[in-house]
């Protein structure tokens, strides 16, 4: 046993080790990444940990291991669950042999810029139990419970964290884990369970699925994952809190006490297993209370189930939540919702200003994010813009579809190159749609290397099969960069780890049969512009592989050999270098152009755009 300061992601990882997990797969995605990344940083003999090509593949690997009787964990962010869902439904209907836990991270309040979806809805659709810890301490314990629950009821189990719990660090008591328990891999041939051959099998699997969820509900009740505490006196207020909302109760009660609130008079249902709905506890609470306050972030899933129970019981009280308009379905919760809910339920007359700070952020400067100093994507965006200008197109008449990852930063100033963003690999499909819609100007799709491997390849194959005239620019920086530098299939062999092999995009794309394939070095602006100009003008499917390693990795290893230096006598302070590159290493200080040597990686783009030769490169080693 050791006390450690760890976050929710790390607590899940260590909980899984302690539960004897054998196989861990996943795809990086904020805020879930750290769970699997923290395992890769450890020396874990007799266990297999990997970043998979995408979440669907990751889940299938984990399910295969669980069907062979081992314990397996699969990690992803909410968008990744959307990718994995096709397989997930099928696996849910089959059930599992060894324990299978799927960790999904949701992001209420949108700290990481994707859809604010509530993945609890997926647990409902798949009839799978879902546990939601309210803190890293609970995450550690509930991960172990999840494996027990999964194995004892034969069902995959979800664990859901929200960003605030996934990224919160606190002190957790962690047990030693050692080696995973020795289990022989089993081969079970049972087509009734493991295939979907025919209506009889599928409908029986549906019955079994529902039965397993019922059994899971019994297991959850028997192990007390949800906590019900009734007040001494009946007909008072009941509070149902789920997931992270539980963590705000004490603080909210304490604040409300100043306005005459009595915490002893409240009945509490803390829901840590958010699916299946704890119907028995809910009925007891409803029987005991006249008003029930429901605290849950995003969608009113628990509230709706509670309302259904209330209807069945012919309960005549009042439910305060989202359905009555008290709370929003948008954004993260904090103690404010506890206070507002108590105020609404009990008429405490808490003044609005008690919860309202003085707003000053309207005076703050806007700080749009851009690519890092030395980022290879900067050269690609600049080259696209310049190539289109030279081909005499206005920016607003050429569609450049965007994709997920650092490459989307091309939507921002100073580039304003990319128009849209949907999901991993979607840029190439979207581009085909624009062509079929009758767009007469060139259509360009952009995506990164990891995105190409993840879900871009089927879209490209489709474009080739149907001979759709467009230009795909694959911006290959060698890493899954935006989530913090994970290895992907294209990462250089040196970093693939033991037994890993690099797959070269420059071999895949020509093999698919594209009409024209080009490679460019985005730090060489002039030749990149020429290559893009030619590619855009060619008929058929054109792919341009823009290849240069991520500057962060390059810089970290100290591999840069040159720095950009200003010649002040030549610099007329025209600021063209800043307006064209938007490089964070460039600034104007006290009337002089400055290049921060700590940030500069020697990409030379500022030198390339300077008309006065006022910037030159100097060797640093």
């Amino acid at each position: 046993m050791a006390r450690q300061i760890i976050n929710g992601n790390e607590a899940l990882a260590l909980g899984a080790l302690s539960a004897g997990v054998k196989v861990v797969t996943g795809y990086p995605g904020t805020p879930s990444t750290r769970c699997l990344a923290s395992l890769l940083a450890l020396d874990l003999p007799q266990r297999h940990i990997e970043w998979s090509t995408n979440e669907k593949v990751a889940l299938e690997i984990a399910a295969g291991a669980a069907w062979a009787g081992q314990r397996a964990l699969c990690t992803m962010k909410m968008s990744g669950l959307n990718v994995a869902y096709d397989s997930l439904i099928s696996i849910a209907y089959s059930g599992v042999v060894g324990g299978l836990v799927i960790y999904v991270a949701d992001d209420p309040g949108v700290n990481a810029g994707m859809a604010e979806q509530d993945s609890r809805g997926f647990a409902i659709m798949a009839d799978l139990p879902m546990l939601e810890p309210a803190s890293p301490v609970e995450a550690y314990r509930l991960m172990q419970d999840a494996f027990e629950l999964s194995e004892e009821t034969g069902t995959p189990v979800f664990i859901r964290l929200v960003t605030a719990v996934a990224n919160s660090k606190t002190v957790v008591d962690v047990e030693d884990y050692g080696l995973p328990p020795q289990r022989e891999a089993q081969l079970i041939r049972d087509i009734n369970r493991f295939t979907k051959a025919g209506a009889a099998i599928c409908m029986q699997q549906h019955r079994d699925l529902i039965a397993r969820l019922d059994k899971a509900g019994e297991w959850i009740a028997a192990h007390g994952l949800n906590e019900l505490n009734l007040s001494a006196a009946p007909n008072g207020l009941g509070v149902v809190a789920a997931g992270v909302a539980i963590a705000y109760l004490d603080e909210g009660f304490e604040l409300a006490e100043r306005y005459g609130f009595d915490p002893q008079a409240v009945s509490l249902l803390k829901v840590r297993a958010v699916h299946p709905f704890p119907a028995a506890e809910a009925r007891t609470l409803l029987e005991h209370c006249q008003t029930v306050l429901v605290l849950e972030e995003l969608e009113p899933h628990i509230e709706k189930s509670l309302a259904a129970e209330a209807y069945r019981m012919n309960w005549q009280g009042r439910i305060i939540g989202k359905l009555d308009g008290t709370f929003s379905r948008v954004g993260a919760y904090d103690v404010r919702q506890v206070i507002e809910g108590l105020d609404r339920a009990l008429g405490l007359s808490i003044p609005a200003e008690a919860l309202q700070g003085y707003a000053a952020e309207q005076y703050a400067a806007a700080r749009p994010i851009t690519v890092c100093a030395g980022c290879p994507h900067r050269g690609t965006f600049m080259a696209i813009n310049e190539a289109l200008r030279k081909l005499r197109y206005r920016k607003d008449e050429v569609m450049v579809t965007g994709d997920i990852g650092c490459t989307i930063l091309g939507m921002n100033p100073p580039f304003n190159t990319v128009w849209n963003e949907v999901s991993m690999g979607a840029s190439i499909g979207l581009a085909q749609g624009y062509v079929h819609a009758g767009v007469k100007t060139p259509v360009i799709a952009t995506m990164g290397d990891s995105t190409f491997f993840h879900a871009g390849i089927p879209g490209l194959i489709n474009a080739i099969q149907h001979q759709v005239p467009l230009t795909l620019i694959i911006m290959d920086n060698g890493w899954t960069a935006m989530t913090g530098m994970q290895v992907n299939p294209g990462t250089c062999a040196t970093f693939q780890g033991e037994g890993g092999q690099q797959i070269d995009i420059a071999k895949i794309v020509p093999a698919l049969g594209v009409d024209h394939f080009y490679q460019m070095d985005p730090s060489d602006l002039r030749s990149s512009v020429e290559i893009l100009k030619e590619a855009i003008q060619q008929p058929g499917v054109k792919v341009v592989l823009s290849r240069m390693e991520c500057a962060i990795q390059f810089h970290r290893r100290g591999d840069n050999t040159e720095l950009a230096v200003v010649d002040m006598e030549k610099c007329a302070l025209c600021k063209l270098c800043i307006t064209q590159t938007g490089c964070p290493a460039l600034s104007i200080e006290e009337g002089e152009l400055k290049i921060d040597p700590a940030l500069c990686t020697g990409c030379s783009l500022c030198m390339a755009v300077c008309n006065l030769n006022a910037i030159h490169m100097e060797r640093v080693k």
């Binding site: 990224n167 963590a247 309202q356 700070g357 707003a359 400067a365």
Partner: protein
């Protein structure tokens, strides 16, 4: 004692390092702590914030509006994003560094003046402790790390000094940088002794 700290700045300034040192020091003191960083774009010169909640064994990660006892800001404009979360009468430690966004640098977008920021902090009823970035001291001929200096200042001038022991913070610094401990401890000490303009 419950004590909440709201930290803001720009990615690359070491804001999260301040929060991590506070977290580690609290742990060493046996004080319950929850540290919640928001670092989505930290590498890219974007807005960074961190919330440290001390004293409660089980606590929600987000500090409510008007909830923080102390705000620490490493960047003038970003300070404004912390104002809403500060308790009236709370301490606001402001390192007046200016990190201009490109548009502001080119004169195409506004950037707040020190007077504006000062005025907003005062209107929120906070006690402002302003640190002039020009006063950063040298250690062996080089400027000391500004984030350690700011942490030192917060310990020296604000209520943080009543919650965290200086020894625990120093121990956290030593634990993090075996080689550069001396330089960082010097920065911390210099911050604690910094002459600070107190207002409000």
């Amino acid at each position: 004692m419950n004590y909440d700290i709201y930290l803001v700045g720009v990615g690359g300034q070491g804001v999260l390092t301040i929060a991590e040192l506070i977290t580690e020091a609290a742990y060493l003191q046996g004080l319950p702590v929850n540290y919640y960083p928001t670092e989505g774009m930290a590498q890219r010169g974007g807005f960074v914030k961190a919330q440290v909640r001390l004293g409660r064994r089980f606590v929600g990660p987000n500090i409510p509006e008007k909830g923080a006892d102390l705000a620490i800001s490493m960047e003038l404009s970003e300070s404004l994003k912390a104002v809403r979360f500060l308790k009236p009468g709370g301490d606001f430690v402001l390192w007046g560094h200016i990190w201009l966004p490109t548009a502001a640098m080119l004169g195409k977008a506004p950037y707040p003046t020190l007077d504006t920021v000062r005025g907003q902090i005062e209107r929120a009823g906070a006690r402002l402790h302003y640190l002039d970035p020009h006063n950063l001291p040298l250690f062996q001929g080089e400027l000391v790390p500004d984030n350690l200096y700011v942490l030192g200042a917060a310990l020296g001038c604000s209520s943080l000094g009543k919650v965290l022991s200086v020894e625990a913070v120093k121990q956290a610094v030593r634990g993090r940088w075996q080689k550069a401990a001396e330089r960082n401890l010097f920065a911390l000490q210099a911050g604690m002794e910094a002459l600070i303009e107190v207002e409000g």
